[in-house]
Every structure is written in structure tokens, then in C-alpha cells.
């Protein structure tokens, strides 16, 4: 367990020290959220109705943008090979790196979400639910993204392919995240049922995704 925490801490420190990854993801998130009203028109009630959807989809795309670098940098400078020979099995290495991505990039995006929600006139009672659903949903995004990153490791234009592979898998997280939010904002359905399914999705992804990611890593290490 010690080695696991050590690896997560190292990755988080690395991302923060390089800083670039976090700011690009946040910048992209801001731009996408800011551009949509320009496209859809400044009508505030329209914006407040589509705010959850816009915030979630933009978050997915921002996370997707940064997911590729989970393994890529370590493969490039040879550290991945040394880590693979370390005490941790490859599955835990994949889990550690995905967790580090969630901490270093997923969380900042979630913290930025309420601020961007102001741009979209999100109803006041929805701010806490926005944070809650996003904190619960973003681990699944990082872990599923790590599977895509491992599969497209070492490919020339892997980024685009990564998006095509992983976005369909994000649909359940997106659907239940937003339905939980709408349950609070407009309210026909009960909030708890959607939110609990979202938690189940995240837990299942956190457990199963590293297995697929490790299998894919073995391919690119061979």
C-alpha cells in the first residue's frame, strides 16, 4: 500500500510541478462553457435549463483532453518500464496513475465548475448538487480514460482515437450525473435513485478499469 501512495503522490507532484496540464484543462473547460452561450444566444432561462448538460459535457471533454498524458510521459522517458518492474502489479500501477489524474486534474475541474455555472445562470439550489454529482462522477471519467490512454499509447495521433474510443463509454456517467441534477432542479424523479446509480457506476469503473488498462499496458510494454 505504501508503494501505491508513493506512486500517486509522485504523479500528483509531477503534474502540479509541470502545471501546464492543469491550466490547459481548466482553460479549455472555461472556453467551451463560455463559447456555447455565444452560439445559443444569451437567453438566460434557456441557459439555465441547459446549464447542467453544458457543464457536464464540457467537463468530459476537458478531462478527455488531459487523460492521454496519464501513461504517455512515463513511457516516453522510460520510467514506466522501471515502475512496471517495481513491487506493484501493473493493475495497481494503472489504478494509481488514474487516481493521480483524478486528484491533480479531475478535482480542479470540479472546483471550477460552480464558477463557470455562474456564466450559465445555473439555478441557485443546484450548485451543491453540481459539486456532489461531479465529485462522484469524475473518478469514473479518469479511470475509463486511463483505459483509452493505455490502448492508444505510443500511437501517432492517439488523442483523436482516444476520444472516439472513450466518449461512448462516458454516456452512462453523463446520463446519471445530469438526471441526478435535474431531479433536484426540476424535480419529477427522485434524486437519490440517479445519484446512487452514479455512485455504483464510479465504484464499478474504479475496480474494473485498471484490469483492462493493465492488459493494454502490457501490450505497449512488449
Amino acid at each position: 500500500m505504501h508503494a501505491f501512495i508513493r506512486l500517486v503522490a509522485r504523479d500528483v507532484r509531477l503534474t502540479l510541478r509541470e502545471g501546464g496540464a492543469v491550466s490547459t484543462a481548466l482553460g479549455f473547460y472555461l472556453v467551451v462553457v463560455a463559447i456555447l452561450p455565444l452560439g445559443l444566444g444569451p437567453d438566460l432561462n434557456l441557459l439555465s435549463r441547459i446549464a447542467p448538460g453544458v457543464l457536464w459535457v464540457a467537463l468530459l471533454l476537458a478531462a478527455l483532453l488531459s487523460v492521454e498524458r496519464i501513461f504517455h510521459n512515463d513511457l516516453e522517458d522510460g520510467t514506466l518500464e522501471v515502475i512496471a518492474l517495481g513491487p506493484l502489479p501493473l493493475e495497481l500501477v494503472a489504478a494509481a496513475k488514474a487516481l493521480a489524474h483524478w486528484i491533480s486534474i479531475g478535482l480542479p475541474l470540479v472546483i471550477a465548475a460552480p464558477i463557470l455555472a455562474l456564466l450559465l445562470n445555473l439555478p441557485a439550489n443546484a450548485f451543491w448538487i453540481l459539486l456532489l454529482t461531479m465529485v462522484t462522477g469524475t473518478p469514473a471519467i479518469s479511470f475509463l480514460g486511463s483505459v483509452g490512454a493505455a490502448l492508444t499509447l505510443g500511437l501517432r495521433r492517439g488523442g483523436l482515437l482516444l476520444a472516439l474510443l472513450v466518449l461512448p463509454l462516458y454516456v452512462p456517467v453523463l446520463v446519471f450525473g445530469i438526471s441526478a441534477m435535474n431531479a433536484v432542479i426540476t424535480g419529477p424523479a427522485s434524486f437519490l435513485s440517479s445519484y446512487l446509480i452514479l455512485c455504483a457506476l464510479t465504484l464499478a469503473t474504479v475496480v474494473l478499469a485498471p484490469i483492462a488498462a493493465a492488459a493494454a499496458l502490457r501490450l505497449s510494454l512488449a
Partner: protein
Amino acid sequence: MRLGVQDLTCVRGGRTVFENLSFEVKKGSGLQLTGANGVGKSSLLRILAGFLPPAAGRITLEGADDETPIGEFCHYVGHLNGVKRAFTVRENLLFWSEYCGGGDIDPALETFNLLDLSDIPAGLLSAGQARRLGLARLQVIERPLWLLDEPSVSLDEASRNILASAIRNHTRNGGLAIAATHLPLGVKFAHTLELGAEAH
């Protein structure tokens, strides 16, 4: 600790790189791999490290329990140094020591004369210095089997001697070393294995 390899066959990209390869490396001895490029030296080292699954054959490491994969008993030094450019020299080695459960890092910094560079980000190091930092982890983490693929590349004369003495100490204390190299390492290896030697 004795490494035994029986009838190893390696297939890469649909092509048989080598077939029915058998050899052994006894405790405290070294093996040098020679042969033309593309004859499978790197592939053999990657199979021993556990990165590349062999098409056929068996690898046994006596004196080690069977569950833990061989990978955890060996160091693999490839063409890449395994060094994080954003971290300083000390931070790089410190991570390896904490992650793989190694010892103190100062003796390693000293042997690979990186002490005065220890607080400089690895990104600013020269190729030779970065290579020495990559090799320093061999001393930080105690592993019986060293797999070295062209270790002396981009090393100057002095650094090559440092590497040679490190290998000599390692084999003297009962370690095993397998090195694939064209340039002389300054180490007299007990055995040599010529790959791709069968008549075409």
C-alpha cells in the same frame, strides 16, 4: 541464485527472432550478448525482464520463490534512462528508493559522481549525466539480476569506468549480469553468447 533458460523462442511482429535458445548464468558471473543488430539481443533482455512474453521455452531463477515474477528480481536498463526531467537528481533517486524499497541514496550519488548535481532538475543534465543518473538506481535498489542493453552509450571514458566497477562489485557480491553491448565495457565477462550464430 542461478538463471536457467531452456529452448527459448521469441516471435516479434510475426517474425521469429530466435529459436531454441538455451543457456545459464551462474551466481556471481556475467554474460555478454553479442551479434549483429536486430538479431534479438534486446528482445532476449526484454523477455528475461518479463516485458515480452516468449513464444516458447522456460526461464527459471533458482533461489527465488516462484510466485513473484522474475521482473522483481532484475534491473532492466534500456536505451531510455528512466529519469523524470521535472524532478531534481535527488528527487528522482529518492522516489526509486521509496517506491522499490531501496536503501540510502547518497552512496549511489557519490559512486556515480552526481553529488554536486543532486539539486539540479534532471532536465538540465547532459546526456552522459542523465545516463549516469539512470544507472545510479542500480545501486540504490538491490536486485540480483542486472539486464543491461547498451549501457555505455553516451557515457564518457570516466563514466564507463564507474559503470565497469559497479558491474564488477555486483558480480563479486554474487549478483548476475547480462549485458548486450558492441562497445567494450571494460569488464571481463565470464561467458559470451553469440546470437544469430547459426549458419544461414
